[in-house]
């Protein structure tokens, strides 16, 4: 049986640090969602919360991909493969832009701005 050829103490430290970072980021995400002082932008769940929430998630995902999945040690081939995947996955997200081209929705929006849906009534 071959013996260990490499010192892994530094690797282990990195993994521990990343694990702790992921725990911290998770707490940040929960705080963003649940506690008003951490609520960015207008009160309640809004676009700004989405941006920040997804930014935190992306950071966590990058940590997992780079360190745990060893992407930081990989060579070009994997990156090329992932580039293709990324482009197509992005394509799937771009598809959702069609939601804004919906003709029925356009009529609906026109109706909203002209007939009865816009109101200046405010809660007391």
């Amino acid at each position: 049986m071959a013996e260990a050829t490499h010192d892994y103490s530094k690797t282990k430290k990195t993994y521990t640090a990343v694990g702790i970072a992921l725990f911290v980021f998770t707490s940040v995400t929960v705080a963003l969602g649940l506690f008003p002082p951490f609520d960015f932008g207008p009160p309640g769940p809004t676009a700004s919360d989405f941006v920040i929430g997804l930014a935190v998630a992306t950071t966590k995902a990058s940590l997992v991909a780079l360190i745990f999945m060893h992407l930081n040690h990989e060579r070009g081939l994997i990156y090329k493969l992932l580039l293709f995947t990324g482009v197509f996955a992005l394509g799937l997200m771009v598809l959702t832009l069609f939601a804004d081209m919906d003709p029925i929705r356009e009529q609906y929006d026109t109706f909203k701005t002209t007939g009865g849906w816009l109101t200046n009534d405010r809660p007391e």
Partner: protein, 488 residues
Amino acid sequence: MEIPYEVTPRRDTGLYNAKLGVWLFLASEVMLFGGLFSAYVFLRLGVQDGVDNPWPWGVSVHKNFVWLGAINTLVLIASSVGVVFAWVALKERNWRRYQIYMYFVVACAVVFMCLKTVEYNSKLNHHHGIKLIDNSVMEGVILDKTDRVRFSAEKITFSLQAALPAVLRDLDSDEFPAFTVTDGPEGTVGTEIKTVSAFKSWFHENRGAFGEALAAERKRFRAETASGVANPKPVAVKGTATFTAGAAFALRGSPRKILGHDATTLNYRDGVKVEGKLISDDVIFEVHEVDMQLVLPQQQRESTVWKVINDEAAKQSFFTQQSKSYQDLVKYYEKRGEVVPEKMLRGRFLNVHYVHVAAEGHEGEEHGEKDKHAAVHASETVLTAGSTGGEGNHGPSRHLVVPRDQVKFMGNHGPRYGNYYAIYFTMTALHGLHVIGGALVLLFFVVFGKKLYLKNPEHLANRVEVGGLFWHFVDLVWIFLFPIMYLL
């Protein structure tokens, strides 16, 4: 035959075979989940249109699940750390430590799935919602089977052409009411049927006979037409049967199987007609939260939901909370010298609030309503006698009587409740299957890995590395699922 690059990586790519294979597989997985994330965005963009149940948001109903989701996130992260440490243990040739880490990972997977089960069970069995006809939504609990139409039946008419009548499953007690066939195929009138199994065999037998008779009739008709008989007798075979019970028996009609009902008849979708007397079709509901996202601001005070709730204090508390939220909004925008934009008035922040209806006797309540409530409860007691006992549902909240004609939609928080729940169950269930699959593979590597470890530990380390790649991917999907499903 020796397969090249099975254990040692190729010099130019730095990859061994399995790793390249797993990365290709993960690329396809990205596309699979990518499609579902895209679907999520589509559904989310359509939320404001008001054709669907509104997107839930973290007050009472949803908030409990946030903690479950958060714990699950931590569990998955811990398991990911476990996998990389197991891999390092193999690299350091430490079998014992490898075993410990791998079993820890599998244990994490089990914990994750257990919490998921708790969550699914809670959504499917303990949380309900009712959307009223003006699109206001009450979240809470439908009390024991009161979404069903309670009926005191005497006579059942059904078709012999269809499947076994659904009404059999709606009979309220285990006792099958003894029936007499009062109308049906020739020679069967007057037959007594006393058990479910006797009914089933009677049904199948007569359905078979009906089919044969029908075939013979059709053959006769075709032959007469072919031989030029003028005005041949049309095909006619009696295809229905009517059963009459000795005494009235209780039925609880599942709402999804019923086409319609009135005071004396109940029509099932499968063609079964039940005659008798309607006991009650009111839904008894305990409300926890009111969602007004789909009701225009100027119509909220006159909403149907307040007529159903019929409690001034609860109504006041809703609008007090709304007013407070509105002040928060005003404060935020005033700081920036702006007015509150129109779309914020329609959002979740202003329009979803806790509502507690104090139990009977605590708050003023119209007398008539109280009587009706008592009457319904009396009939409930009759129906539940001997089965559940009907106790244990009485909390501090008053149980509302929701008239069925005020209900647009009701149900548990299963996939059909609304787009949120549909995409939630699709994505989390698919993710859950990945967790199970990944855990089984990792379990295999630790239970049956010793032989390979002794032969070529580097090979086993590679296997754990690629198994781990998949596991990290599963973690990565959850990292995105958690905020979009629970928090945002």
